[in-house]
């Protein structure tokens, strides 16, 4: 059974070293989930090793501070009724662009970061590496 899902492309963050390198904007794509991609969908719905889920709800990132292994994927899921984004706070090195309610954005993490929602600037979170 084909399932249609609105999903944001997982972005590689391995090149986030120089100020001149800007992360490509997150792309929203509509995917038909085939049996071969059900594993990815499972990671979204039930994160296992290597995938860390952060829920955006009630104007907070939950959990606010996370510790991950280098190369893990962080998946931000917007369960709020408002549009949010996740943006690296100091040099705006990376940004999800807008994450609509009910959609998600993911990023492979290779370095620690502090981030915020650039729309609601008091919403903040952090990523530490184990």
């Amino acid at each position: 059974m084909k399932i249609t899902l609105l999903f944001l492309v997982i972005l590689l963050c391995s090149s986030c070293t120089g100020k001149d390198d800007k992360m490509p904007a997150a792309q929203k794509i509509s995917l038909e989930i085939t049996p071969g991609e059900q594993l990815l969908q499972k990671a979204i719905s039930s994160p296992g090793p290597g995938v860390v889920k952060v829920e955006i709800k009630g104007m907070v990132f939950e959990p606010k501070d996370i510790s991950v292994n280098k190369g893990d994927t962080v998946l931000w899921i917007n369960k709020d009724i408002f549009v949010h984004d996740v943006t690296e706070i100091h040099s705006k090195k990376w940004s999800s662009q807008q994450i609509e309610p009910g959609t998600a954005w993911a990023m492979i993490v290779n370095e620690p970061a502090e981030y915020y929602c650039s729309i609601h600037v008091v919403m903040k979170g952090s990523i530490q590496l184990n």
């Binding site: 009630g58 104007m59 009724i81 408002f82 549009v83 729309i119 600037v121 008091v122």
Partner: protein, 179 residues
Amino acid sequence: MKKPKVLKTIALLSAAIFLSAFTDNPKLTDAEIASVAVVANQIDISYAEIAKEKSKDKEILNFAQTMATDHTAIIAQASALVKKLGVTPKDNAVSKQLLSDAENTKKMLRSKSGDAFNKAYVDNEVAYHKAVISAVRDLLIPQAQNKELKELLQAVLPALETHLHHAETIQKNGTHNKH
């Protein structure tokens, strides 16, 4: 300096006017609560529209856009809910007074320009959000009969508190024209 004190007083008066709509502890039906909720959001959108016309400050413009977007989203949620429940928002003395008083605030904002406008807008946003939070938490939520309406009002509170925190941050940093 006298000017900032005067502006702050005006903002506090605006909040007092807002709260005065509730000082008689009016008893509101769910239809009336829905109307008050929608009107309160519409008022902040109208303040944001004035800010987007008049301010050149990047922080103010970002904040105003966020207010317009978020309060529009809240109205959309409220509208969907009342449609689902078959409730028609009912104008009432409270919603009418809010609209009437908002006209005075808009007149005050339109009379300002530059840094004076920026400060007046932010001071009003702080005062207005404090007043709305108090009204939602202490009056609308306790009086709401329908469970889903009560839950929507409760779900909106964190957003109002975040807006207040955001406005207070701008207020604390001071406003100045940035491009």
